[in-house]
């Protein structure tokens, strides 16, 4: 069983890292968004591997189903799909790379590897070689949301509402500024008006 899990983990890590790399480097912003979706999906699968089923499903539902769609919509609304320079250039690029590599190679990885995480040994159930651990699932999560983290839960709800209202307010366009799509009757009326004006001018002359 371990071999299978390790192989799957390796493939998923490759997918996550590769897709993320593509997402930040490709020129076409739509492709970047699609790579981002692939990355989200890989992360969701990793959650499944980590036995966090509810989180995995939520990841797919929110990130893949909502956030990425939102991003795609925004890209299509702004219509800037392929720019000439999609990344910063010159020294700024090199500094950025340096920051990221330095963070990764000198801070994060050494810390992660050197720190003793005190991982408790898995509880092995009797008569089986598989671990039988009490995993918190969706039911526990739901109960804790109501009993333990109620305030946080409410605050999150308020945050979401505010974000919703804020997004609407920011993106709202005044009706008057919007170019109206004319109905058939309106078009006809306009044409008639123009015609009338034309004949009046002629008469005036």
């Amino acid at each position: 069983m371990n071999i299978l899990i390790q192989v799957i983990f390796g493939l998923l890590s490759a997918l996550i890292v590769g897709a993320a790399m593509m997402a930040v480097t490709v020129r076409n912003i739509i492709h970047a968004a699609l790579w981002l979706i692939a990355c989200f999906f890989g992360v969701g699968a990793l959650y499944l591997l980590l036995e966090a089923e509810f989180i995995a499903v939520v990841q797919v539902l929110i990130y893949v189903g909502a956030v990425s769609i939102l991003i795609l919509f925004a890209i299509m609304l702004t219509r800037q799909i392929e720019g000439a320079r999609h990344l910063v250039t010159g020294w700024r690029l090199w500094v950025t790379i340096a920051i990221c590599v330095a963070l990764f190679a000198t801070v994060l990885v050494p810390t992660l590897l050197s720190h003793n995480w005190n991982v408790p040994p898995p509880v092995i159930a009797e008569g089986s070689d598989l671990p039988a651990e009490p995993l918190a699932g969706a039911a526990e999560l739901g109960r804790d949301f109501v009993f333990v983290y109620l305030l946080h839960f409410q605050v999150t709800g308020v945050l979401l509402t505010m974000a919703l209202i804020g997004a609407i307010v920011i993106a709202f366009e005044e009706r008057a500024r919007r170019r109206r799509v004319l109905t058939l009757a309106e078009e006809h009326a306009l044409r008639e008006q123009k015609k009338n004006r034309g004949t009046e001018e002629q008469e005036n002359r």
Binding site: L184, A185, H188, A189, E192
Partner: protein, 409 residues
């Protein structure tokens, strides 16, 4: 409430007051119920059009549709069942009115007088471009063109959709069966007009080809009975036997014309009639004659640009003779083309002999065939006594020409 827009005027049409229901959405259920009724009733066949339920489908290839009388697909031409006379008088009304201009026709002419006859010589409708408007049938004063009910016209042969008279003709009884009441209304006038035009049609003109063939077959039979004696000897043909299939009378006419031309052209050697039987023993003289014939043909071709005197001189009282003249010209031209290589072959002695022999044999065969074919055809063409009128005429002319030439010498 429905909104209707009519050139800027808004007309609001309000329906009757809506029924208030206990449960909103009941009208949606009513809609579903209607569809349910249709679904349930569809398992029986619909009987007539007053019944709004049941399956209306006609399963076409198995079940032929019952077409209404006024259904129209493609135009057809009518002819009288009994006499075989076509109703069409080539008045060109349909050709004129046809919106996609797919109707083409030529008027028949009296072969003896050359005057137009109220009959059609060739009638073509391009079915592939026809739009089935039915104007031609509407406009036809003689009820000769009608709309067919046959719609199974699909084919892989696109040019084949250009339909000629032969394929367009249908007997009146066929149309009568398609549209009995329409024909009943038109019958009296149409038949009267047909009688009028039949009077002005000589011989086989204006007869449906189906019947023409029958008549011709009958005549051929008669001729075979009458002509027990061998046909008049045919002259050796200058042109090699053509692979092209010609109708017998055409061949005869051509032969005669060529004979005449040859006679006119050379005018020194013996009249061609004498030559053929002698050529049996393949003598060098014979080869020489054949070669000569080829050369003569060339000459004739060269001359052929201007109308040869024997053809233009006599009044072309016979249609066949006139045709023969034109054909002779063409044949001569072709003969010249064919002869050219033979003439060139003269320089090479061994080959030349062979070629000449071959040409001679071919010429003989062609002449024989022509002679055989000529008899019945010529009989059929005109009255029985003048069995090979055209050929004889041409032969006489040729003889005269030969005589004249010898005198000149």
């Amino acid at each position: 409430m429905a909104i209707q827009i009519d050139r800027g005027n808004i007309v609001a049409v309000t329906r009757g007051a809506r029924k208030q229901r206990l449960l909103p959405g009941g009208a949606m259920l009513d809609g579903l119920a209607v569809i349910w009724t249709h679904w349930r009733e569809s398992f029986r066949k619909n009987r007539d059009f007053s019944d709004i339920h049941g399956t209306f489908t006609e399963e076409y290839p198995d079940q032929q549709p019952k077409l209404p009388e006024a259904y129209r697909n493609m135009p057809i031409l009518l002819y009288d069942d009994e006499s075989g006379h076509e109703l069409c008088t080539s008045c060109f009304q349909c050709q004129r009115i046809c919106p996609p201009q797919v109707i083409h026709m030529t008027q028949a002419k009296d072969p003896t007088t050359g005057k137009p006859v109220p009959a059609v010589a060739e009638f073509i409708i391009e079915y592939d471009a026809c739009m089935s408007c039915g104007f031609c049938a509407e406009v036809c004063p003689f009820d000769a063109i009608k709309m067919d009910h046959n719609f199974e016209l699909s084919t892989a042969d696109h040019p084949g959709l250009t339909t000629h008279k032969q394929a367009l003709l249908r007997p009146i009884s066929y149309y009568q069966q398609l549209a009995p009441s329409f024909w009943a209304a038109a019958e009296a006038g149409a038949m009267k007009k047909l009688e009028g035009s039949v009077k002005r049609r000589p011989d086989v003109i204006g007869l449906a080809p189906q019947l023409t063939e029958k008549i011709e077959a009958r005549r051929r039979e008669l001729a075979a009975q009458a002509a027990a004696a061998p046909p008049p000897a045919a002259a050796p043909a200058a042109a090699p036997g053509e692979a092209r299939k010609l109708s017998p009378e055409e061949k005869a006419a051509k032969l005669a014309a060529i004979k005449a031309k040859n006679a006119a052209a050379k005018g020194q050697t013996a009249p061609p009639e004498a030559a053929p039987p002698a050529t049996e023993g393949m003598s060098p003289a014979e080869a020489k004659a054949a070669k000569l014939a080829a050369i003569r043909a060339k000459n004739a071709a060269a001359k052929g640009e201007t109308p040869p005197p024997p053809e233009s001189a006599p009044p072309a009282d016979d249609k066949a003779a006139k045709l023969a003249a034109i054909r002779a010209k063409n044949a001569a031209k072709k003969a010249a083309e064919d002869a050219a290589p033979t003439a060139e072959a003269e320089t090479a002695p061994p080959a030349d002999d062979k070629a000449a022999k071959l040409a001679a044999i071919r010429a003989k065969n062609a002449a024989k065939k022509a002679a055989e074919g000529a008899a019945p055809a010529a009989e059929a063409e005109t009255a029985p006594p003048a069995d090979d009128k055209a050929a004889r005429l041409a032969a006489i002319r040729a003889k005269n020409a030969a005589k004249k030439a010898s005198e000149d010498e």
